[in-house]
Amino acid sequence: MDKAELKTKIAELLPAATFEDGAEWTTAGIDAADWAEAAPKLRSSEGLDFDYMFCMTAVDWKTHLTMVYHLTSTVHRQVLVVKVKLDRQHPVLATASHIWRTAEFHEREAYDLMGVEFTGHPDLRRLFMTEEWAGWPLRKDYEDPVNMIKL
């Protein structure tokens, strides 16, 4: 189905979703509280079948954080982008690792670099940095006068 049909289908499924215009793929924005029910629906609804998550990004917008999920369906060959808005002081989100197994590593990376906590993740610890590292390196307000030499 094309972008417009997909947009109407998602709007029926998730009434609280907002849509962005002008993007290459259908982009839906939902709240953090709705993600736990929305994710399984996206995975197994008839006609959607988004079984392949190919990219999961955490973005720091200075006032809030956003998790961007890029989903694709290998059956119907359509792409959906889901953006979940998170509170910056206390970013908590439900895990998606029981739906898409690739999320296990991606969520650990988001926790390590941005500080987003995923409830229900089997093993949430730092992935790239050492266990004792303090701070969330990829955030915009990360200061590290010892290691970072600014240009």
Partner: protein, 171 residues
């Protein structure tokens, strides 16, 4: 210590010993032979972290063969290696591992910092929170090679420079 005093109570030493400044000539000749032997059979440790490792593998392969110069066997364990070629970037998490490998090597041991990243942090110098800006913050380095990555000929030049450094002795 005067050489003549050593001979009291023993049979007379066959041959002549000429006292020279800095030690006897016999010992100097032996040093040269030992240094020559050491420099011609340095066994490198298999240690490549990133892109320079591929150029190191090319240097080990058939076209730019480094076993012509004595680096025949690349050992996997530091206990049996003489030289560690740091091929790649060293990051904060890897630095203790590198130190431990260096400590496990037996004397005499030598270090070659290959590539821009091992020399000074390279392309990852500015605005990175996890890169050690130069492997010489962790272990003492003998020879630095520039390049990103250095050509196999550059690495061979570095190996030959190291051999010459060894032959010259420990001053």
């Amino acid at each position: 210590m005067d050489v003549d005093q050593l001979n009291t109570g023993n049979k007379p030493f066959p041959g002549d010993v000429h006292p020279t400044a800095g030690g006897g000539i016999l010992v100097t000749k032996l040093d040269e032979v030992i240094n020559w032997a050491r420099s011609n059979s340095l066994w490198p440790l298999v240690f490549g972290t990133s892109c320079c490792a591929i150029e190191m593998m090319s240097t080990a392969a058939a076209k730019y063969d480094w076993s012509r110069f004595g680096f025949e066997v690349a050992r996997a364990t530091p206990r049996q290696a003489d030289v560690i070629i740091i091929a790649g970037t060293i990051v904060n998490k890897m630095a203790p591992v590198l130190k431990r490998l260096y400590d496990q090597m037996a004397d005499p041991k030598y270090v070659i910092a290959m590539g821009a990243c091992a020399t000074s942090g390279g392309p990852f110098f500015y605005n990175t929170y996890s890169v050690v800006k130069g492997a010489d913050h962790v272990i003492p380095v003998d020879v630095y090679v520039a390049g990103c990555p250095p050509r196999p000929e550059a690495l061979l030049h570095a190996l030959i420079t190291l051999q010459e450094k060894i032959r010259k002795g420990r001053e």
